[in-house]
């Protein structure tokens, strides 16, 4: 009654009023026969980081579609719905995106948030709502140090990958001097710092520079032309190994510039660059010989990988990209837990509890979480670009 009166009074504020009308519709509808639960995804869907977010969104969507069709887990006693929530990869947008997810009472778990900054901003809210979040891509080490019981991630954090990379560069590649470059993103600078510290500890001389990720690759603010100058600097340093922390697109541009400048040293990068696009954009001639590390097993060795890629492209209209497989694994891990709990046992808190004990064999790895939410057994694999193909060399030393 009071509400209706207020709405009448507020004719000029049509905007707010319409939103009020919409609230009624969000209430979960429980079907009598098979209950419906929602798995949400939080990540960038618009703005400069949209592509990275879309890589994950369609993988989540695919996993849900397949589960509903009974293809991955057999016939499930419940139906799954999908709720994508856009945070533009931004910390200030993230709480709003989280509130949308939390406010939908049918949401049982979240894949995401995609970015570390967005996670830092939203995780207190998710924790308060006891809603499990499984991030396919947030790698900042401090995320696991806040005692958020609902926080999980299917990727290794920077502290696992950075030192492994450093060991490979110093011990295996026998580099005495290393040129290390990051793209200025939270992910890359964290990783590069871990890498630099470990390499220095092992006695290598490390020169570090930040070349901001470019708008050419959507995420950053840097300009592409900087890479020619950076390449000159790297070449002058005569470092036999150049380590790049960042994503494949900028890495490809940098690699091209390095080779164009006549740099002969070895190139190395991280999981952000483990993408066939790296080879196609840099060109096989440039990319050959590059080492890439990832805390994930070789996709191509898994029989499920090829159909995954095909089906992904069918719904996304673009090929699988960075973190697609991780997002797919994160979603399936959640679904496996829900299957195990059964319709009677499923609620937000029970899923958090169950995730602490889950073991699920995914595309990229066997998913099992440590108590702090980090992925267990963070084995880092080294990949090598040979004849225009990225092939796995084996575990990092």
């Amino acid at each position: 009654m009071q509400n209706r009166l207020l709405r009448k009074l507020a004719v000029p504020a049509v905007a707010v009023a319409v939103s009020a009308l919409s609230l009624g519709a969000t209430a979960a509808t429980a079907a009598a026969s098979a209950p419906t639960y929602t798995i949400a995804y939080e990540g960038p869907l618009s703005g400069g980081n949209a592509q990275l977010g879309l890589n994950m969104k369609f993988a989540v969507q695919l996993a849900i579609n397949q589960a509903n069709a009974g293809r991955t887990f057999g016939k499930l006693p419940f139906q799954l719905k999908f709720l994508p929530s856009d945070d533009q990869g931004s910390a200030t947008q993230s709480p709003t995106a989280a509130q949308q997810v939390i406010g939908d009472s049918s949401v049982m778990a979240v894949v995401g948030p995609a970015f570390s900054g967005a996670t830092k901003a939203a995780e207190p809210l998710y924790a308060q709502a006891h809603l499990a979040t499984v991030s396919p891509s947030a790698t900042a080490p401090e995320l696991a140090q806040h005692g958020w019981r609902n926080f999980f991630r299917v990727v290794a954090d920077d502290n696992a990958q950075g030192p492994a990379d450093a060991t490979f560069a110093v011990k295996t590649l026998k580099a005495k001097t290393i040129f290390s470059i990051d793209d200025g993103s939270a992910y890359a600078s964290g990783l590069a710092t871990a890498f630099d510290n470990a390499a220095k500890k092992m006695g290598a001389k490390v020169t570090h520079q930040t070349a901001l990720g470019t708008t050419q690759c959507q995420a950053g603010t840097g300009n592409v032309q900087q890479y020619s100058a950076v390449a000159t600097t790297v070449k002058d340093s005569k470092a036999p190994v150049t380590f790049y922390a960042g994503y494949y697109c900028d890495f490809a541009l940098l690699a091209k510039s390095l080779r164009a400048a006549g740099y002969k040293g070895t190139l190395m990068s991280d999981d952000g660059s483990l993408d066939p696009h790296y080879v196609s954009e840099a060109g096989a001639k440039v990319a050959n010989g590059t080492f890439i590390s990832c805390a994930c097993a070789d996709l191509s060795k898994s029989a499920a990988a090829a159909p995954f890629a095909k089906q992904f492209e069918a719904i996304a209209h673009f090929p699988v990209g960075t973190y697609s497989a991780e997002a797919y694994d994160a979603t399936n891990t959640i679904i496996s837990v829900m299957k195990q709990l059964g319709p009677k046992g499923i609620n937000r808190a029970s899923i958090v509890n169950a995730l602490h004990h889950v073991t699920y064999k995914g595309l990229t790895k066997v998913v099992h979480f440590q108590a702090n939410g980090n992925i267990a057994g963070t084995a880092v694999y080294i990949y090598h670009v040979v004849k225009g193909k990225i092939v796995e060399l084996g575990l990092a030393p």
Binding site: A10, S22, S46, L54, P95, S189, L212, T221, H317, F318
Partner: protein, 468 residues
């Protein structure tokens, strides 16, 4: 011999027969196709059709790298295109009818608007309306979901604050600031610094409340330091200097890792709290307490800006905006008032920064981008430059709309297409209503005058440098 004058027709009466001799705008002696192109009805029809075909592509399926034309063929060579062609025809018909009966439409409009027009100038009615709105703003958020409360604080509240601050700079003084977000960042990082959340901190920590004046001061100081040398420059130059300043601030925040925390940002900025006279209250994760705090401040600032607008200072700004040279000539210290507007705007943004930092308790440099400066500017101009209600409503509507779409993806709306629609909305809006949705009376007059070729409607072309 003197030639007698032909008798002059009575003033205002049309000359017999001249109407039929009116030269068409297309001029005489043109090919039929040229005449067709010049025909207003035809042009409108083409415009409507083109507009709706673009809409068909916008709303159609996406293409992909491998098949770059598939999006176009999927939306244009598809049965759905007939919907859009039909809508175009309807719009064209409506426009044609409206033109034909424009006199009748105007009468009808006047009748419908007569009451509001009579009431609006009445201050009692206006203040009554404001009061009702205020009551609404106080009561309504208690009844909405956590999501909308979050929107009310972070998406609307903070942006309203930023918009009314920028409104002082752009709307009142007519200065184009493209780096406004820098001051927002300065405010947020000040809050982080004084509360001890940054890597570099003082031996003591302050309650976030105390950081408000400090952050405002820091932003204001930055505004003065940037403003004094650059506000002599002409409008366009000021725009790019402020843009550069914004970029510099965000790069500094990103790169001085040991001081600012770098790209990883600053986590753990405490929430506001009160510990006074036995009262202990902490603004926690809930949004309502923040909402009311913000509402209170916004109302205070609105009252302050409103009185400022109608004071000597406000009149000086108007003079500068309308004709800087004349303002200077009549003894107004142009630079002083410009710096004043600039730093008042800056400090408002600084305050908004504290609110964000304290509520989210996390900030990162990636959030203070050039695009955000542009967005805030868009809010101000969308609402109506120089108009406080305009800035508030503009920010509220434009910030609310994407959130509405998020919950209600109308017509299969895809979140990744959001900016296509926002972009188109801005263009259409500027074509049909360049003065914004709630223009201030004074600006309406200025724009009206500009339409008649008297004066310019913003201070973008003159500068003190030119005067000197």
């Amino acid at each position: 011999m003197t030639t007698p004058l032909t008798p002059a027709p009575t003033p205002g009466a049309p000359l017999q027969g001249t109407d039929s001799l009116l030269l068409e705008p297309s001029g005489p002696g043109r090919a039929p196709w040229q005449r067709l192109l010049a025909n207003e009805d035809f042009r409108r029809a083409v415009g409507c059709l083109a507009g709706f075909l673009v809409l068909a592509v916008m709303t159609g399926p996406s293409g992909s790298q491998g098949a770059p034309t598939s999006g176009f063929t999927g939306s244009l060579f598809n049965l759905r295109v007939f919907w859009f062609v039909g809508l175009a025809a309807v719009l064209w018909g409506a426009m044609t009818l409206r033109r034909r009966y424009s006199a009748a439409v105007k009468v009808w409009n006047d009748k419908a608007l007569a009451l509001p027009r009579r009431l609006l100038p009445d201050t009692r009615v206006r203040y009554g309306a404001y009061f009702v709105l205020l009551v609404f703003a106080v009561v309504y958020p208690m009844h909405i979901s956590g999501f909308w409360q979050e929107v009310a604080v972070q998406q609307i509240g903070v942006y309203v604050l930023l918009a009314i601050g920028l409104n002082v700079v752009v709307g009142y003084a007519g200065l184009l600031d493209l780096g406004y977000v820098a001051f927002y960042a300065i405010g947020a990082y000040s809050a982080a610094f004084w509360t001890g959340a940054m890597p570099v901190h003082l031996p003591f920590h302050l309650n976030p409340f105390w950081t408000i004046p400090l952050a405002i001061l820091a932003a204001m100081l930055a505004g003065v330091i940037l403003g004094v040398p650059t506000l002599r420059l002409r409008g366009d130059y000021l725009a790019i200097v402020t843009l550069g300043f914004g970029e510099i601030i965000s790069i500094v925040a990103q790169n001085l890792t040991s001081i600012t925390g770098g790209p990883g940002g600053v986590l753990g900025i405490p929430h506001f709290s009160v510990h006074l006279l036995g009262v202990h209250y902490v603004w926690g994760l809930g949004n309502l307490p923040y909402y009311y705090l913000l509402l209170g401040f916004v109302v205070l600032i609105l009252i302050f800006f409103h009185s400022l607008e109608n004071s000597r200072v406000g009149r000086a700004w108007t003079a500068i905006r309308e004709d800087e040279v004349a303002a200077q000539a009549s003894g107004i210290n142009v630079l002083k008032y410009k710096v004043m507007a600039f730093s008042i705007g800056a400090s408002t943004a600084g305050f908004a920064g504290v609110m964000t930092a304290s509520q989210v308790s996390y900030i990162e440099p990636a959030d203070f981008t050039y695009q955000l400066s542009i967005l805030i500017l868009v809010l101000v101009i969308f609402g109506g430059m120089g108009s406080l209600p305009g800035a508030v409503v503009g920010a509220a509507v434009l910030q609310w709309f994407p959130q509405f779409l998020r919950l209600h993806p109308l017509f299969g709306f895809q979140q990744q297409d959001l900016y296509i629609y926002l972009g188109a909305l801005l263009v259409v809006m500027m074509i049909f209503r360049p003065e914004g949705i709630l223009p201030s009376k004074r600006r309406k007059r200025e724009i009206g005058l500009a339409e008649h070729g008297v004066g310019s409607a913003d201070a973008m072309t003159t500068s003190t440098a030119e005067v000197q």
